[in-house]
């Protein structure tokens, strides 16, 4: 198989987009998130805990507790989430798996791939949770089974 983001990262991105689509400050339980997004509750809970450690998400314990974004969604870029979960290695490693791939000793795809990779990086840097709110709401509205 081929993957861009790990499952952890996909779920993490879905979850923070979901949080960003809620009203500011609203606390959402992992149970709610898991049900809405159709992903394992314990798993998404773990992921949000790690994003809490990373400072992107805040949590509230106890009854009526849950998660909420730690910053205004305009200040959270997709790249921040990816960096916190999967890391940025993908933007700095050879697409063909060659060692030492660099401008000095480029792999056969170095330039062509480099251009695509940069576009992807820029896109993830430009897009904030805020900017995607409308689209997220739309997608969520059609997640019913």
């Amino acid at each position: 198989m081929t993957v861009i983001f790990s499952k952890k990262c996909e779920y993490g991105l879905q979850a923070v987009l979901y949080l960003a689509a809620k009203d500011a400050g609203e606390v959402v339980s992992s149970d709610d998130i898991a049900k809405k997004l159709n992903i394992p509750k314990e798993f998404v809970s773990k992921i949000l805990q790690s994003l809490t450690d990373s400072g992107l998400v805040n949590s509230k314990k106890g009854k009526a507790g849950g998660f909420l974004l730690a910053k205004h969604p305009a200040n959270i870029r997709l790249l921040d989430v990816v960096a916190a979960i999967d890391g940025l290695e993908i933007f700095n490693s050879c697409v063909l798996g060659f060692p030492n791939c660099s401008p000095d000793h480029p792999c056969p795809l170095h330039e062509k791939w480099g251009a695509l990779r940069t576009s992807a990086y820029n896109m993830l840097t430009e897009q904030t949770l805020d900017q995607l709110k409308e689209k997220t709401l739309n997608k969520i509205a059609h997640l019913e089974v």
Copy 2:
């Protein structure tokens, strides 16, 4: 972690590029390939066996046996190798892991990601093993440990 191609696919691409950099018709053993590319012999052997089944590679059994490309390297696109090993699912599945991601019910990144994905697809379709021969030779020349 984040990945574009599986290890299998990375090794497979490296191996066919290596074969394409050899003289036409030259038979190369998996042992040779493994040593040169610094990848596990049995693993690359398995991968080349599967590419043989896919019709991209031919094999020669017995002493002095090994592998060679089944077609002229100008007729093998990178996409063919990726398709044979990882499949093309990545070009047809949601980058955020949302179900049912389509123009009707797009995920928040549907358009932006779609553009990048198409660029990647086109690149892999345009690049043939032949076109990458010079660059492959250069890279291989600097693989020494």
